[in-house]
C-alpha cells in the first residue's frame, strides 16, 4: 500500500515489520490490535461452530464430553477477554479517540504500545493452555471446581487473563487522561462525540473493575500453586467468596463490552439519518449511569447460589434500574431516526440491526433480573441467548458498523458497498436463526454446558446449528472484501459519509500526527441540521487547499 498516494500519511511512514511493531503512533497500534483481535475472534468462533455441530444431534457423537467442556470454556475465555473486552476500545477507540478530540496522539503513546505487548504476552499463556490440553472450568473459573477438581491448565489460563488485565488497565488510564487533558480548544465536555463519552465511561469501569478480577484470579492461582486455601472450605476458606469477587468484575465487564458499541451506534445513526442525535446530554449521562450502576448489580448472577433472599431482592431491584439508562439510549436513538433522511449504507444497516438485537436482548435481561423467573431459567440456554444478543448481536454488530463506518479513515480505501450490505444482512439473518431458538430451548428447560440432550430439544437445536453456519458466512465475508479493498479498493475521499466530527476533517488516511493544523471547535457534536456545515466547521485540509 505504500505508494505515492500514501506518502505523507501514517501509512507511508515505513512499511517494514519494525516500523509497525515499534511505532508508538496510536493509529498503528490500533492496527496491531485489529489484526490480533481478528485472529482471536475467528479462533473463538471456530470453537463455537464445533459446539454447534456437536449439538445438531442429541447424542454426543462429534466430541467427547471432556472435549466439549474445553471447547465452551475456551470459547468463553477467548471471546470475553481476548476479543470483546478490548474489541472496540483497543482498535477503533485507539485509532479515533485522539482524532475525535483533536489531539496528536494519546497522552502516553509508549504505554499504548506497551499495552499491546502485554496483551500478546498474556494471550500466549492462554494459547498455550489451548494447545497443551485446555481448560474445563467454563470462562467463570468457579471455585471449588477450578481450584480442587479441574484437571486442565487452569493456572496457565487464569494467569494469561490476569496479564491481559494489565493491558486493559493501561488502555483505560491512557484514555481517561487523554480525554481530560488533550481536548482541542473549544471542545467542551458536552461537545464531545458520544463515542468519546462511552470510551470514557468504559475506561472508568476498566480501571476500577479489572483489579478485582486480578485479585480473584491471583487467589485461584495461589490456591492451586501454593496451597493457600482462601476459597477452600477444608482450609477455612469460602467458595462463594469467589463468585462475589468474580462478578464484581464481570458484571461491570459486561458494560465494558457493550458501552463502546453504544458509542459507535450513536455516531452512525445521526450520520445516516442526517439528524442531530436526539437528547445528546441524556445519552451522554446515561453512559455514565450505566457505568456506575454496573458496579451494583453483581449479585444477580448469584440468585440461586445461596446468597440471602434480602440480597437477592436488592440486587434484583438494582438490576431493573440499569434498564432505565439503557432504555433512555434506545428511545433517543429511535427518535434520532424520526423525520430523518435515512439511507441504508452498510454501517447504517449494522447500526439498525444493533438497535433491534440490543433491545431484544435487553428485554430478556429484565426477565432474568426478576427473581422468580430467574430461578426457572438460571443456567439454561435462555441465559446464553440473552447475553449473546447483547454481546454478539449488540457489540459485534456495532463493531462491524464501526469498522465499515471508519474503514475509509483507517485505510484510505472504500470497500464494496454491495458486498457490505449482503454481509450485514446475512449476519442479521444468521444471528437470529442461531440465537432465537436458544430462547425457546432455555425456556423449555435445556441447561447450558451439556453436550447431549433429550431428543425433544432437537428441532430448535438443528435450527440454531444451521444459523451458526449462516452467521459464520456473514462474519467471514468482510474478511475477504475488506481485505480485498486494502489493495484494490477505490481511493476514499476525506469524508465519504459527509459526517460531522473532527476525525472527518483530516485526510484519509490521516497524517502521522493527525492534523496538519491543530483544530479549534466551534460547534456541538452532530450538527447535521446546520446549513453549510462543512464550510463553517474548521477544516485544516480545505484551508490548505485554499492557500
Amino acid at each position: 500500500m505504500t505508494n505515492a498516494a500514501m506518502q505523507g500519511t501514517y501509512l507511508g511512514q515505513g512499511s517494514g515489520l519494525r516500523a509497525w511493531l515499534l511505532s508508538t503512533d496510536h493509529k498503528r497500534v490500533a492496527w496491531l490490535y485489529l489484526i490480533s483481535l481478528t485472529a482471536f475472534f475467528f479462533l473463538g468462533g471456530a470453537m463455537a461452530v464445533l459446539m454447534r455441530i456437536e449439538l445438531a444431534t442429541p447424542a454426543g457423537d462429534l466430541v467427547s464430553d471432556d472435549v466439549y467442556n474445553r471447547l465452551f470454556s475456551l470459547h468463553g475465555i477467548i471471546m470475553v477477554w481476548f476479543f470483546l473486552v478490548p474489541s472496540i476500545p483497543a482498535t477503533m477507540g485507539n485509532f479515533l479517540l485522539p482524532l475525535m478530540i483533536g489531539a496528536r496522539d494519546l497522552a502516553f503513546p509508549r504505554l499504548n504500545l506497551a499495552s499491546w505487548y502485554v496483551f500478546i504476552f498474556g494471550s500466549l499463556f492462554a494459547l498455550f493452555a489451548v494447545v497443551a490440553g485446555g481448560v474445563d472450568t467454563g470462562w467463570t473459573f468457579y471455585t471449588p471446581l477450578s481450584t480442587l477438581y479441574a484437571n486442565g491448565f487452569v493456572s496457565t489460563a487464569a494467569f494469561g487473563v490476569f496479564v491481559v488485565g494489565f493491558s486493559t488497565i493501561m488502555t483505560g488510564i491512557n484514555f481517561i487522561v487523554t480525554v481530560h487533558t488533550l481536548r482541542a480548544p473549544g471542545l467542551t465536555w458536552f461537545r464531545l462525540p458520544i463515542f468519546v463519552w462511552t470510551l470514557y465511561a468504559t475506561s472508568l469501569v476498566m480501571v476500577l473493575a479489572t483489579p478485582v478480577l486480578a485479585a480473584s484470579l491471583i487467589l485461584i492461582v495461589l490456591e492451586r500453586v501454593f496451597g493457600i486455601g482462601i476459597f477452600n472450605p477444608d482450609l477455612g476458606g469460602d467458595p462463594l467468596l469467589f463468585q462475589h469477587l468474580f462478578w464484581f468484575y464481570s458484571h461491570p465487564a459486561v458494560y465494558i463490552m457493550i458501552l463502546p458499541g453504544m458509542g459507535v451506534v450513536s455516531e452512525v445513526l445521526p450520520c445516516f439519518s442526517r439528524r442531530p442525535l436526539f437528547g445528546y446530554k441524556a445519552v451522554a449521562m446515561s453512559s455514565m449511569a450505566i457505568a456506575v450502576f454496573g458496579f451494583l448489580v453483581w449479585g444477580h448472577h448469584m440468585f440461586v447460589s445461596g446468597q440471602s433472599a434480602y440480597a437477592g431482592v436488592v440486587f434484583s431491584f438494582l438490576s431493573f434500574c440499569v434498564a432505565i439508562p439503557s432504555a433512555i439510549k434506545v428511545f433517543n436513538w429511535s427518535l434520532t431516526l424520526r423525520k430523518g433522511e435515512i439511507s441504508f449504507e452498510t454501517p447504517m444497516l449494522y447500526a439498525l440491526f444493533f438497535l433491534g438485537l440490543f433491545t431484544f436482548g435487553g428485554l430478556a435481561g429484565l426477565f432474568l433480573a426478576a427473581l422468580a423467573v430467574d430461578v426457572h431459567v438460571h443456567d439454561t440456554y435462555f441465559v446464553i441467548a440473552h447475553f449473546h444478543y447483547i454481546m454478539v448481536g449488540g457489540m459485534v454488530t456495532a463493531y462491524m458498523a464501526g469498522l465499515h463506518f471508519w474503514w475509509s479513515k483507517l485505510t484510505g480505501r472504500m470497500y464494496s458497498e454491495t458486498a457490505g450490505r449482503i454481509a450485514a444482512t446475512v449476519t442479521f439473518v444468521g444471528f437470529n436463526l442461531t440465537f432465537f431458538p436458544q430462547y425457546m430451548l432455555g425456556f423449555n428447560g435445556m441447561p447450558r454446558r451439556y453436550h447431549t440432550y433429550p431428543p425433544e430439544f432437537q428441532f430448535w437445536n438443528v435450527l440454531s446449528s444451521a444459523g451458526a453456519v449462516v452467521l459464520a458466512i456473514g462474519y467471514l465475508m468482510p474478511l475477504f472484501y475488506l481485505g480485498w479493498s486494502l489493495f484494490r479498493g477505490a481511493r476514499a475521499p476525506d469524508n465519504p459519509w459527509n459526517a460531522t466530527g473532527l476525525e472527518w476533517q483530516t485526510s484519509s488516511p490521516p497524517p502521522p500526527h493527525n492534523f496538519e493544523t491543530m483544530p479549534v471547535v466551534t460547534r456541538p457534536a452532530y450538527a447535521y441540521d446546520m446549513k453549510g456545515l462543512e464550510h463553517e466547521r474548521f477544516s485544516p485540509h480545505r484551508e490548505e487547499a485554499a492557500r
Binding site: I173, N174, V177, H180, L182, G236
Partner: protein
C-alpha cells in the same frame, strides 16, 4: 513539543499535570485491588472472629512495629525528594531517593526475617509446609495465615516494584532533562506514598485489631 516525552503535549507543565493525574487514576485502580482483598479479610474476620484474634497474636508485634516505622520514614524521605526536586536541587534529590529505596529494602529484609520466623514456627500454610498451630480452631487460623501471607506478599511485591522504579529513575537520571526528572519524582512519589498507606492499613488490621 519541546521538552515533552509524549508528542501529544505542547508543554512540559501540561505533561506533568497529565502524569500526576494518570498516577492518581492508577492508584484508584490499585485501591480496588487491595480493597477486594481487604474485603475478603474483613468478611472472614466477621465470620471467624475468635479464631482470627487468637491467630493474630502469633504475629510478631515488635517486628511489625519496626517495619511500620521504617516505611513511614521512607515516605518522609520521598517527600523530601519531591520538595528538593521542586527547587531543582538535584544532588540532594538523588540522595533522598537513594535513602527511600534503601529504607524500602530494610522493610523487605525485616519482612523476610518475620516470614522465616513464622515458617520455622509452623505457621505458614503454603507449599505443603507443615502447619503446627496449637491454638483454638486451627482450620480458621490456617485461613488467617493464608490471608496474612497473601496480603503482606502482595504489598511486598508493590514495594519491590517501587524500589525497581526508583533504581531505574536514578539510572536514567543523567540523560533526562529537568522537566522529566521532576515529572518522574512526583509520579513515583505518589505511588510510594500509596504503597506506604496500604501498609498503614494492613498493620492494624493484621497485627493490632485483636489486642
Amino acid at each position: 513539543m519541546s521538552g515533552t516525552e509524549s508528542v501529544a503535549f505542547d508543554t512540559p507543565q501540561r505533561e506533568r499535570r497529565a502524569d500526576t493525574f494518570a498516577m492518581w487514576v492508577f492508584i484508584g485502580s490499585e485501591a480496588m485491588l487491595f480493597g477486594a482483598i481487604f474485603l475478603v479479610f474483613l468478611v472472614a474476620h466477621i465470620d471467624f472472629g475468635p479464631a482470627f484474634a487468637a491467630a493474630s497474636k502469633r504475629l510478631s508485634l515488635p517486628l511489625g512495629t519496626l517495619n511500620t516505622a521504617v516505611l513511614i520514614t521512607s515516605s518522609f524521605t520521598m517527600a523530601l525528594a519531591h520538595m528538593l526536586a521542586l527547587h531543582r536541587r538535584w544532588r540532594p534529590t538523588i540522595w533522598a531517593l537513594v535513602a527511600t529505596a534503601a529504607l524500602g529494602v530494610c522493610f523487605l529484609i525485616v519482612k523476610g526475617i518475620e516470614y522465616g520466623k513464622e515458617i520455622s514456627e509452623g505457621l505458614a500454610p503454603l507449599l505443603g509446609l507443615p502447619f503446627r498451630y496449637a491454638g483454638p480452631d486451627p482450620v480458621h487460623a490456617e485461613f488467617f495465615f493464608g490471608l496474612y501471607f497473601t496480603m503482606t506478599s502482595l504489598h511486598a511485591l508493590h514495594l519491590i516494584g517501587g524500589i525497581v522504579v526508583i533504581a531505574g529513575m536514578i539510572a536514567l537520571w543523567r540523560p533526562s532533562g529537568p522537566a522529566n526528572r521532576l515529572r518522574r519524582v512526583v509520579a513515583v512519589g505518589l505511588y510510594w506514598h500509596f504503597v506506604d498507606i496500604i501498609w498503614v492499613f494492613m498493620f492494624p488490621v493484621l497485627y493490632l485489631i485483636n489486642r
